[in-house]
């Protein structure tokens, strides 16, 4: 009996506040837009019984999805979100790997401090960390001021409200997500393997490529997914650092919902976004499971 309660409470909570809401999104994505409250038809009336339910099913259609394929905006936004997320992930990996590597090679008594320094920004507000770059990257900002003073540029560079600023913002805010899994993979590595490789005639660089990188593969994969998946649906960074040319689907969905109040189309956008992400999410969970099995 106790066991039943223990299972039922969190189970019902998640069913009611995670699964059911998602089914509602799915249902509304198949409904028609209406000028009413709520702004879509048909609404499900359970009091009508089975006949009403059949009637309700009959009114659902794929119209919103067809509309999404016909309008360029959505296609471009999906493509550009995936593209931005992909390149940002690569950049984050390139920036994060050397840091994780150096942390794992630091003296053991230093490692907890270094680890804390990586985690600390993660506890600080995401919004504030993105906002910090607005003052640095703007036309009258500190970066342009510094470059002008050094005589490296003759007039201010436009960085804020471009994709470049979006990339900087993503690398900055998601860097800890990349560093931590790579660090934990590298930290477990046995350094004598590198000595063995060098004894067998590898150069340092070769030993790095042939020994270190393959041994940190799991960490690299985990880090890349941890960056890629949330960045595809990112809203704050493109809104604050991006410009009118920055198309990202999270921003489109937000605006579709709040500015255009088109709930069925916003729901259809959400459903497709999830379909795009489902493959990386499954791959990520497999990778995690493999790692858990390897450790356990």
């Amino acid at each position: 009996m106790r066991r039943l309660i223990l299972i039922a409470v969190p189970y019902l909570w998640l069913l009611a506040l995670f699964l059911v809401p998602f089914l509602i999104v799915l249902k509304i994505s198949l409904s028609d837009t209406a000028i009413a409250i709520p702004p879509y038809t048909p609404t499900l009336d359970l009091a009508g019984g089975w006949a009403a339910f059949k009637d309700f099913l009959g009114q659902l259609d794929m119209e919103n999805f067809v509309w999404l394929t016909e309008d360029d905006l959505y296609w471009k936004a999906y493509l550009s979100s995936v593209k931005i997320a992909f390149f940002a992930t690569v950049l984050t990996l390139v920036a994060g790997y050397p840091i994780a590597y150096a942390m794992a090679r630091a003296a053991p008594e230093w490692r907890p401090t270094l680890l804390m320094l990586v985690i600390l920004p993660f506890w600080t507000s995401f919004l504030i960390r993105v906002y910090a770059w607005m003052g640095i990257l703007s036309n009258e900002g500190l970066l342009n001021g510094l470059l002008l003073k050094l005589g490296l540029i003759a007039e201010p560079l436009t960085i804020l409200n471009t994709n470049a600023a979006v990339y900087i913002g993503i690398v900055y805010t998601y860097l800890p997500f990349m560093i931590l899994p790579i660090y934990s993979a590298l930290e477990k590595m046995d350094e004598s393997l590198l000595e063995a490789a060098e004894d067998l005639g590898c150069s340092r660089l070769q030993a790095f490529w042939l020994v270190t990188v393959p041994l940190s593969k799991q960490g690299i994969i985990a880090g890349c997914f941890l960056v890629f998946i949330p960045v595809v649906g990112e809203f704050v960074i493109p809104s604050l650092l991006g410009g009118s040319g920055t198309l990202m689907i999270g921003k489109v969905l937000f605006e579709e919902f709040f500015n255009n109040r088109d709930w069925p189309v916003a729901s259809a956008v959400a459903v497709i976004l999830l379909l795009i992400l489902i493959i990386p999410i499954i791959l990520f969970q497999r990778n995690e499971q493999k790692q858990r099995e390897a450790e356990g």
Partner: protein
């Protein structure tokens, strides 16, 4: 430390400079006297004074703190239960769906979570306000709590619990007297994680907040959309300060606890 080369020193220095300089600059400029945030006009704390008189921000801060305390506390209870179910309850009908629902919100884009919860609240006719934000935050943060707690539950020796049961404890007493003290550090870090996630959330709160309750991130977002403002710099500095002090204190406390635990274990080994 023969492998700790110049390359490693450079990458650590550059890496940490990149992570910390933007925030340090933000903190410095919060003490700038000028309204033009990019021109330095001398040291002043006037923006802090103005911030403390801005009632809209104070109200939002109060809402945010209440939401964070309530949602992280409920999430810790639910998340610990869920972790216990995942690790200890064995097989039951719908276990796969249950673990799926625990892990999915961790990677679900916030815009989708927010949209779906909003549509639910409207569907059942629940007015948007502080209650709906608490419900929304509890739902995603309980998943984080259960991941943190279950990783601790997996690694602990089950025979301790069994011993307590053999000695006549009820299952609940065994949980309270044996399991809970051992997993307490994970439960506390789960609570802290849930608390910060709630303080930090903009997207889900934007969907689930109503006109009666606005959280601080929503206020900050609508202010910074228009550009950099000295008051927001001051507010950010206060928030960065609280987090820094909190994290450093927490890590010192947990370090002391682990040192103490090690000493006790060694003493126990010597005694045998």
């Amino acid at each position: 430390m023969k492998r700790f080369s110049a390359f490693n020193v450079v990458s650590l220095t550059l890496g940490f400079a990149f992570l910390y300089l933007p925030m340090i600059i933000l903190v410095i400029y919060s003490f700038n006297d000028s309204k033009l945030v990019t021109v330095w006009a001398g040291f002043s704390t006037r923006w802090y004074g103005e911030l403390l008189q801005n009632e809209a921000f104070l109200d939002a801060a109060w809402v945010t703190i209440r939401v964070a305390v309530a949602s992280s506390t409920i999430a810790t209870v639910l998340g610990t239960m869920a972790a216990y179910v995942l690790v200890r309850a064995g097989r039951f009908h719908g276990r796969t769906l249950f673990s799926g629902m625990i892990y999915a919100p961790l990677v679900m884009p916030e815009v989708i979570t927010g949209l779906s919860l909003l549509l639910l609240f409207i569907g059942i006719g629940l007015d948007r306000g502080i209650v709906t934000i608490i419900l929304a935050h509890t739902t995603f943060s309980m998943c984080y709590v259960s991941v943190v707690v279950s990783s601790r539950l997996v690694s602990f020796d089950r025979s301790l619990e069994e011993a307590a049961l053999d000695l006549g404890c009820t299952p609940f007493a065994a949980f309270r007297l044996v399991t809970l003290p051992i997993i307490a550090p994970a439960v506390i870090s789960g609570w802290l994680l849930a608390f910060t996630l709630s303080l930090d959330d903009l997207v889900i709160a934007s969907f689930t907040a109503g006109p009666s309750a606005t959280t601080l991130p929503i206020k900050i977002f609508s202010a910074v959309r228009l550009g950099v403002s000295p008051e927001i710099n001051a507010l950010s500095t206060i928030m960065i300060g609280i987090v820094t002090v909190g994290v450093i204190t927490a890590s010192l406390v947990s370090k002391r606890a682990s040192v103490k635990q090690q000493a006790e274990e060694q003493a126990a080994v010597r005694a045998t």
